[in-house]
Each structure stands twice: as structure tokens, then as C-alpha cells.
Symmetry: C2
Subunit: 297 residues, 2 copies
Amino acid sequence: MRFFIGLDGGGSGSRAQAALADGARTAVLHGGPANVHSDPERALANIRELLERCLQAVADLAPQARRDGAVVVLGLAGASESNAAPMLRAALPWPELQVTGDLDITLAGALQGRAGIVAALGTGSVLARLREGQVQRIGGHGFVLGDEASGAWLGRQALSLALHMHDGLAPQGALGAQLWARFGTVTALLAFARDARPADFATLAPMVLAQDRGGCPQARAILDAACAYLQRAITLLQTGAPALPVVGCGGLGPVLLDRLGASVMPGLTRAEPLGSALDGALWLARSMPHTPNGQKP
Amino acid sequence: MRFFIGLDGGGSGSRAQAALADGARTAVLHGGPANVHSDPERALANIRELLERCLQAVADLAPQARRDGAVVVLGLAGASESNAAPMLRAALPWPELQVTGDLDITLAGALQGRAGIVAALGTGSVLARLREGQVQRIGGHGFVLGDEASGAWLGRQALSLALHMHDGLAPQGALGAQLWARFGTVTALLAFARDARPADFATLAPMVLAQDRGGCPQARAILDAACAYLQRAITLLQTGAPALPVVGCGGLGPVLLDRLGASVMPGLTRAEPLGSALDGALWLARSMPHTPNGQKP
């Protein structure tokens, strides 16, 4: 019998779930990090272990299930950059296994094949349009050069503002004052920035959002710049299409789209995501053509 | 007999020079890296060796010179952040030795005690005003959060522009086209950015300057943003003072001040630096109060 396993693997952990042909699902299982770009050996070990646990979970639902009935989709951060798919397919004992990027499963989960635009705004940022099976992507280039409007970007802008305030280049304001209350000295603030990963900068994003709601004009300016980027990207993705719904994903997607729609783009057509990235991996597994006995189509 | 040694130590190398009381100078001696913040043991070894070679060079000029006649000033990148002065004074066999930051010797060399504003723009950026012995500083906070208008900052802005051009967010232009001719693919460009240190980003700054001279509006926009930052900083440093001369140091200081004065601040009063950072270390050594027999004042 045929069944489906989706896996959503990232740098801080992985999740996987299996579904039978009739839609019955196992529980979501959690596993270790699976960044095939930065640590391929550890990723392989964690993916292998998580898939085996999925197989056991399926056996509880359907004792007749066997490994060769599984259709597996791995959605992995860094998959497209690392060209890891051949290595994973060779090393994992699953005859039908597809490797794809984290954006692909996010899109698949949010839209499940429908046309639309997804603004995935979390620690990083990427926007994409899905239409007639074609994906057009904007951003997703990482923190050093891109990830505009992401949580890490908001946090870094806030820290730069605090330094400008310290130097006298920016007027005193509530956001900067809150940051100085937290860090105390330039030395401490710069030490934080020197060691901070994007996820650490992103921990400051809620402070920017709260100060914007509280009326701080400098927090407002940072979020205005983020929304200006989103407006440009969404306008570009709408080009040539009948107005597509825009779906916000990630911790910041819904929040920033609310703000954008309320002030800058009042006509913005919103939609809720149909499912998570993990749902997207399962949806892609269900969408794969049937190739029995491990034959590739 | 009294003599003076100045040392300018940075992350990629060090230079030192000695001068007698009558002004006669030894040749400039070159030594290894001396970043006391990132690698204090190696910095100590390189400084120790370079100072001993200075002492030998002085002996060629004045055979009666002895170690206890030396007044030594070390100007070191990272000195203020690392609190390395007590360690260096304890470890080095020089009775009169002062440790200061790279900005201090840059200011001392450029202005030699006169009032003025220094715009030190190289791989990083910092501006400072010296007046009546007091220093007010803007910037110098490093590449992640600051160093606006520096070479590294210009290079990073250019790469972000190239990605925007690739995504369709920025129009086609000469600077972006030249960058894509160099890097070829998004993957290659992002690989460069992932591994690049600030000095690597700064290698792209001459391309931005050349494309600006060639009329590329996007290169112009990047340099306009850099000049806007410089204008704000210089205006702030002029506050409350009779118009002070502005001295450009580093590879980009004179270039960007030329551009700023030509278009944005036509009344800008310029001055040439009186000397280098190494000259500044020697000047500070000459300015130290005389404390014979190693007594501290």
C-alpha cells in the first residue's frame, strides 16, 4: 500500500509527518537539525532517524505498510544551494524520495497548487508567486546582502539606529532608549552584534513592532522601509497577473501584511495559508506521479 | 638621551619608526599583524620584535641611545575595545610606553594638535573632531551595524543592488551588469558574500566610484547615500565651532570629500593631512610628559 511522508528540515530542527492514501495522518514527529548546506553528515543522520520513526508510526496506523510503499518529500533549508539531492537519494533507503527547498514546501503548503503570492517573513525573507505551476521568486538571499523586511533585518536596523542616536546623528527616541536600557554600553551592544546570528538579531524585531504601535517615529521609519520593500516586491509579482491573493507566512508575514494593507496598499487582497510547510511537503508527496517498484518516471 | 618610537599596528600588519630629539628619523620598519583584540598573543610577539628592531635602528643613528631613553606610543586597532594596555605595559620591557587606539594616532597625525575634523574612510569609517584637546567621535562601529560610507559598505551596497537587479526590483544598469559579468551566478555572488571579510567587500568600492564617474545612476545613488551620511556627520561635528577644516584620510577620504564638496556642501573647508597615522604615533610620543627613570607622572 502507498503512503506519504513529508519532512520539513531546518537549521534548528526538523519535523516530519506521514499520511495514508485515505488522509489519515500520524502525529508530527520532531528531530534534529537538517541543514544540508552547513552540516551535511549531521543532516543525513537526523533525516535517516526521523524517517525511520515515521515508518514505525505508519505501522501503528496500517500494519501492512512497507518501506517500498512510501513516497517521501524532504523540504530542506539550503537544499538548492548545496546540490545535496543526489547524495541524500543515494544514502537513504527509500525508493521514492524527492529533495526540494524550504521555499518550495512553504509555497506548496500555503497555496496547495492554487495561484497566489507568498510573503514568507521570519528570521529571513523571501517572496514568491505561484501561477500555472511556475514559481517566480524575489529575495531569499540571506542576511548579509538581503533578507529585507525580515526579523533579522528589523533587529539590525534597530541596532544601527541606536548607534546613530548615541553618536548624535539621530534624535532621542523610545526605540533607541529601550535598546540602550537593554545593552547599556556601546561595547556591550557591539559585542552582541559581533557574535549574533540572524536569529539573534531577529529577537529584537518584536521590540520594533511594539515601539511602532506605541508611536515611536523611528520604529515607524524602520517598518515603513520594510513595507516599502514588500510593496515593491508584491507589485512586481502582481505584474501581468489578475490580482492574486497574498499569503503571509512566518512569524512576521501576517503582521507586516496587516501593516502594509492598512496604510500603503489598501487594496491588497489577502488570503490565509492553507497549511504549513510540513503540510506542503506532504502535499508534494501526494502530488508525485506513481512509480511502483522504485522506477523513476 | 631621549628618543621616540611610534608604532601603527593593525590586523594585516604593523609599521614603526623612531625619531631622535633633534628630529632625525630612522627608516619605517614593517612587522606582522598586531590586532590586540582578535589575537593578543601574536600581537604582543609582533610588537615586541618590531620595537627591538627600532632600538637597533636608533643605535645606528645614535650609538649612545639606551632602551630606558625611549618614549614609545603604540597605536593599535582594537586597543580601546580590548583593554589591552595593562597587559602590554606589563609584558614589554619599555619603561615609558603608552597604548592608544588607531583613531587617536590617525587624528594626531592628520592634525598634530590643531583643531579640525578628520574623515577616516578606508575599509571601515570613522569621523572625529579634535578641538582644545577634546575628541568627539562619530561612527567606527564596524561593518555589521555601521561603517557607513566605508569601502566595505560601498561594496556591500553594490552587491545588494546586483541582487535587486536580478530579482527585477531595480532596473538594469551598468554597475549591476559589471558585477554580474564578474560573478556570473547568484550562487557565486552569495558564496563570495558568505566568506567575505570587510576588506574583501571593499575591493568592490573602486568599481562603484568608476561607474559613478561613468554616469551610472545606481552607482550615483549609492555614493549619494554615502555622502548624505558624511554630510550629517560633518554638520554635527561643526556644531558650535567656527568652521573647522575637514581632513580626508584613508583610501576613500579624499575621494568622497571631493565629491561631497563638489555637489552637496560647496562651502566645505578642506585641509590636507599633516601626516600619517604613524607620524601621529611619533607626534604623541614627543608630546608625552618627561618622566625619567620610568616613574609614571
